[in-house]
Every structure is written in C-alpha cells, then in structure tokens.
Amino acid sequence: MTVRLFALAIMAFGLLPLAAQADDFAFARRLYLDKAQCSYCHGWAADGAGEPQSNGGAASLRQSHLNRDQLIEVIMCGRPATPMPHFDEQAYTDKRCYGMSEADLGGQTPALPPGATLQRREVEAIADYLLAKVIGRGPISREECEEMFGAGARSCATYPLK
C-alpha cells in the first residue's frame, strides 16, 4: 500500500512539470480574451478578424514584425490616430509614451480601453504569449482553436486539424 502510494506520488510529481508547461499561457490567454478583450478587435486567433462591430482594421498579429519591447510599447501606449487603445492607465498623462502627452496629440491621442487597463507584468505576459503561440504561426488550425476554447469545441470543427 505504502509502495503504491509512493509510486503514485512519484508519478504525480513526474507529471507536474508537464502540466505546468501546458498551462504556461493560460494566464495570458485569459487576459487576451477576457480582461483586456484584445480578441474583440484582433480576433481570438489575433488574425485581425475581430467582432464585426469593432472599429475594424485591427492588425493581424500573426504576421507582426514587432519584437518583445515593441509589442509591450504598443499595448501600453496604443497607436496614435488609430482605434488601438492604451492599456497603461497613465499613458499620455506625461511623456512616457513616444515622448508625447495628451496635450501634444490632442484628438490623435489613443483612447483608454473600454474594458480594463493592464499592469506591466500582464502586458509582458501577453507579449510573451504572442511571440510563443501566435506570431508566425501560419494558418489557424483546430489544434490552436482548441487550445483557446477547449477540446471538442464545436466552433473549432471548421478548421483543418493541424
């Protein structure tokens, strides 16, 4: 009995790193879909296919050439003169973003996101997720869709398996 329990403990311990690995981006996905609602404009797969009632014209991040620092900057600061909002609550209250404040930019100042703003560590998590799982990934697959919506999701059935 003790031996069996011990064996189970070893198995469970051995499995832990794997489970943690599979879960690496769960936090970032939750931010992407729910807290920051990036998906509203960029689409769940970040291909630019957002909700039809969004402002439209959101970038496809799958083809993004931005590096980690640039991704973080765009998420924190938004893009002036476009609907991309700034997720740093204090952006444009001083010159932390592109060296400009709201007084410099006027009507071109990016808006606050309609949902929640983000902390820097959250923005970093989203950038790391985009670099690891989205940018340069190629066509959307059922595998990727199920990573987002869970195994067996009906709405993933229209995508090719891999």
Binding site: D34, A49, N55, R154
Partner: protein
C-alpha cells in the same frame, strides 16, 4: 371543481396575474395577436412592433414617485458581460436571455423580489449578443449567437425540447429574437459584416425543422443578382444581416424585416452595383418565404448604414386617406414611410440633427437625391478627404446611426413616433485589402467627437419632426411609450428618464451607475404596473463613450432593474 375553474377564468379575465406555474396558459397565436395589456409576450411587445403599452397605472401625474422595487443579477460567470435583450413577461413570470445564450425564468409575482426559477444553459462557446427570446405554446425559443443553434425550452421545466443547428457558414450569428407566429418561427441570421450571406428562415415551432429559407443576397441568375457587378463572387459574402426582429401583419401574412449593409461595409470597390437586397425594407410572405416587395434605402452603401432596425406597422390616415403603413427610422438619419400592402413609398424626413452623406431624399422616389442609377459606385454628397491622409472621410450620422437596434416606439395615443436618435459623426477610412476571410470590414472608423442623443418626435404620416429633447449621452437602449402618457428611455451612462409624451418635459430620472443597451419594457401583476430594463454595456456601446472622458472609469453590471410606484 367547475366553480373553481370558473372563478379562475373570471380572475384571468380581470387580470391574469397570479397564475400558478402548473396552470400557466399556452401562448397561442390569438394571444400573440391581441396581447393582454399586463403582459409583454414578444420582443417588440406586439406584431406591429410599436412597443406601446396600454398600461396607465404609471402615468404623467404619478411617475415622479417611481422607485426601484427590486433587481436581479444576470450572468456573472465571466468578465465583460452585457445585456441587450428585452425581457418578456407572461402572467408574473419573466423570461430573459444573457450573452451566453442562457435563458432565465424569473418569478416576479411578489413585486418585492425576483426569484430565478430555472436557467437553461445551451453551452454556447463564445460570448455574444442576444436581443430576446420568443414564447410559443409552452415553449421559450432562444438563439445561441455564433453557435448558430435555435433552441426550444419547456416553459415550466427549463428542459430543452428541441435544439436545431442552422450554422451554414462559419461566421453566421443568430442574435435577434425569433418571431413566433401561428405555425412559424421566423429567424433572422446576422454576422454579415464578417462576410456572411445572410438569410431569414421559417421553422416549424413543434420540431424546429426548417420550412423555408430566403437569402438577402441573390445567387447569380436570381432576381437582383444583376446589382452585384463584380467578378469576385461578392454575393457569397455579401452581408445583408437581420439582427433585429421584424414585424408582422396577420391580415396579409406578411412579415417586414430590414436588412443589413453590404459587406465589406466600408469598401464598395469590392462590390460595384446597388447590392440588392441589402440596406432594404423587405416584405416576406410567411407562407413561402418569397419577397412580396422591397425598397432599398441606401444603394451601394459604404458607411455601414444598414436598415435592420424596426419596421413599425400603423393603420392611419395619410393625406386624408386610410392607409396601412410601415414606418422605419433609418440608420442613415431619415424616417421613411411606405404603404405596407404594396410597398409604395410615401414620405421621408430627416430626424437626426446632422446629415452630411446626402443632400436629401427625393420626395417622389424615396431615393437619395444624389443617387445615380447609371453608376456602379454611389458617391452621394459626402465631403471627401477631411483628414490629412486623404482617404478618411467624415460622415454624419455616425456609422452606427441615427437609429439602429435600439427601437423606437409609436404611441397610438399621440399618433407620434418617438425615435431614440444618436447624434454625431464618424471618420471612416476604407481599406481595399480588408475583404478576405477573417478580415471583412473593408476599413475602419473612429468617432472624432463626443456622441450625444435625442428623443425625436416624428409624425410618420408626413415625415416631419414635431419636437425633440436633447440628452447628454448616446442611446443604445430604445424607447417605451405607454397609455399613461409617458415615454421612457435610457442612456449609455446609466441614466433612465421618463418624459411627458406631449411636452417632452422630464418627469422622472435615476442613474444606476451601469450603462444601458437594452430596451425598457413594462408589465403588470395584480394591477400593479412595473417598468423593467436590463443593464450592462456591450463592448461596442462602451466604445461610443470614448469621447466622454468623464466616464473613462465607468464600470458595468448585468442586472434586471424593476421600477414601480
């Protein structure tokens, strides 16, 4: 036993309020045609979509005493939830749907609290917008957004009776409330802006089987296909959504729906021609799904001026003659009136404060005066190149209207239409590459300035504006008018107001701290009248507050609020 039954009948005749769940009556075609004043049995209240209630217990004289009676939290299982549905009430029981397609039955008989009796969770995979449910027989009929399913739930038990999948295209979306008729459930499909070829269908209410299905965009060779002059099969992704429930005339068996814009919405270069039957009023024959007549409001639109908002049926006099009319506050800023039997255009009049896209509507044809039928691309009158980048154009009203899914109300008492009108403009930048799968908007827009709104009183028989009341924030809720002489509406900042239906004087107001993009409705239990409304802004409505910086920290809660005296 017989005596008890007779007594129950008598009570029902007086005011059927305290019906026990076990004895709840079926919702018959007769009841839907002549709804009891204390009930609200379909999304637009009645088949004519007037959203007018005969209840007058709450009225001009006493509405200042209106107070919150109770509230019910809806959803709460995920962030960023929103409610766009009109609650239905039948004999003291409320039916409402949330963004997960979950249907709630709430016991509101006490007048002091609402108790959720059951929830039907369809397992919808992605959060969406739902504008209401339908009642038919002993069933509650609901939609599941991008899951593309229609579900019939037993009104008493909350158990699913049938569940039909109508998802014929990956991006198709079902968010308007179904329209329950005698032997038909009319369902409108949307998702048009994502490159969906939209349709309207009739289902057998007993089984959910499809009886007929008619597309808003014709296939090659079908009537209207000559107005799609492209060589890239734009018809397959042509749009023409039906995201607001239509109206119905039992005498002619015609149902009237407004269709959405052509897709890609902001870029007409992909789809030269008038793009029938998008941005149109369409009368469908319920017997077979055939179009009996249509009228296209804005041919070859490229400002997202779809016309899916309510088409309101009124029997009245026009120029001294008895006419059966249909009237429609257009997203494009004009109110239009037609003879609903033959589709003859009668009147149009501007109701929004500012229109720049056209110089006006031709009083004979109903078309924009700058419409040129010989051209493949309609330029109309918009000022070009208002911004430095040369491609952006400013259009008024805002791309979302004017008026949209937030419905107007017609009061037979004043014979006036009360239009919740959004005032403002948008800067649209077309993108000629945005017409591929997954990226179909054809461009992008921003609101350059603050948006506001008004309640505009329009005489539908002349098209003329009688008066207006300006309000400080945009309206995405809609209007309720009642025999008590009040007009109720709500704004994105969480304010509800009751106005005098003649003077538009503000008689009562409250701010609940969460925004409204669902319409107000009213019902009565035991002779006591209540006004109910769902709160919680959808992302798009929140975006309309981008230029209202004082609301930048505004938060949302999905609740049903119930007010009474």
């Amino acid at each position: 036993m017989k005596t008890k039954f007779t007594a129950a009948l008598a009570l029902a005749g007086a005011l059927l309020a305290g019906a026990s769940p076990a004895g709840a009556a079926d919702v018959t075609f007769e009841r839907l045609t002549n709804p009891e004043p204390h009930n609200w049995l379909m999304v637009h209240h009645d088949y004519s979509a007037q959203r007018f209630s005969k209840l007058d217990a709450i009225n001009k004289a006493n509405v200042k005493g209106l107070k919150l009676k109770f509230a019910v939290a809806i959803g709460g299982s995920s962030p960023n939830e929103a409610l766009e549905a009109t609650p239905l009430v039948e004999d003291g029981f409320m039916y409402v749907i949330d963004g997960w397609g979950t249907v709630y039955k709430i016991d509101v008989r006490s007048g002091t609290h609402g108790r959720i009796l059951w929830k039907m969770d369809p397992g919808q995979e992605r959060y969406g917008r739902h504008r209401g449910v339908a009642l038919w027989g002993n069933l509650v009929i609901s939609t599941t957004g991008k899951d593309g399913r229609i579900i019939a739930t037993d009104k008493e038990t909350g158990k699913i009776v049938w569940d039909k999948n109508l998802r014929d295209q990956p991006e198709v979306e079902l968010n308007s409330a179904p329209l329950a008729l005698k032997d038909d459930l009319i369902v409108g499909a949307s998702g048009g802006d994502q490159g969906v070829r939209n349709w309207i269908a009739s289902l057998d209410p007993k089984t959910g089987n499809v009886k007929w299905k008619t597309f808003s965009v014709p296939a090659p060779g079908e009537p209207g296909s000559e107005t799609w002059k492209d060589k890239n099969n734009a018809w397959q992704t042509g749009g023409g959504a039906f995201y607001v429930t239509g109206s119905y005339d039992p005498q002619t068996n015609l149902t009237y729906w407004g269709s959405g814009n052509p897709a890609p919405g902001y870029d007409a270069s992909h789809r030269p021609g008038d793009n029938l039957f998008t941005s149109s009023a369409i009368a469908f024959n319920v017997a077979n799904g055939k179009m009996e007549w249509y009228f296209q409001y804005t041919p070859n639109d490229n400002r997202d001026y779809d016309e899916t908002g309510t088409h309101i049926l009124i029997d009245t006099k026009v120029n001294g003659e008895d006419r059966k009319i249909v009237t429609h506050p257009g997203r494009n800023g004009f109110n239009y009136t037609f003879d609903r039997v033959n589709g003859q255009f009668l009147k149009a009049g501007q109701y929004v404060g500012k229109v720049t896209w056209t110089k006006g509507i031709d009083p004979k044809t109903g078309k924009p005066v700058d419409y040129d039928p010989t051209k493949d691309f309609q330029l109309y009158a918009e000022p070009a190149n208002v911004n430095a980048d040369k491609t952006t154009r400013r259009v008024c009203p805002d791309q979302s209207g004017g008026n949209n899914f937030w419905p107007s109300s017609y009061s037979p008492k004043t014979q006036m239409l009360y239009i919740p009108s959004v005032e403002g403009c948008s800067d649209i930048t077309p993108d000629h590459s945005a017409h591929v799968k997954g990226k179909f908007a054809g461009g992008t827009y921003v609101n350059p300035d603050r948006l506001t709104s008004g309640i505009v009183v329009v005489d539908p028989t002349t098209g003329t504006q009688k008066s207006r009341k300006d309000l400080p924030y945009p309206n995405s809720a809609g209007v309720l008018a009642t025999a008590g002489g009040i007009v109720v509406t709500a704004l994105l900042d969480g304010t509800i107001v009751a106005l005098d239906d003649e003077t538009l004087e503000q008689l009562w107001t409250v701010n609940v701290g969460t925004g409204f993009n669902a319409p107000p409705m009213t019902y009565a239990v035991d002779g006591k009248q209540y006004i109910a409304i769902a709160s919680g802004l959808w992302r798009n409505a929140k975006g309309k507050l981008t230029r209202s910086p004082e609301l930048r920290t505004h938060s949302q809660a999905t609740m049903i609020w119930v007010f009474g005296l």
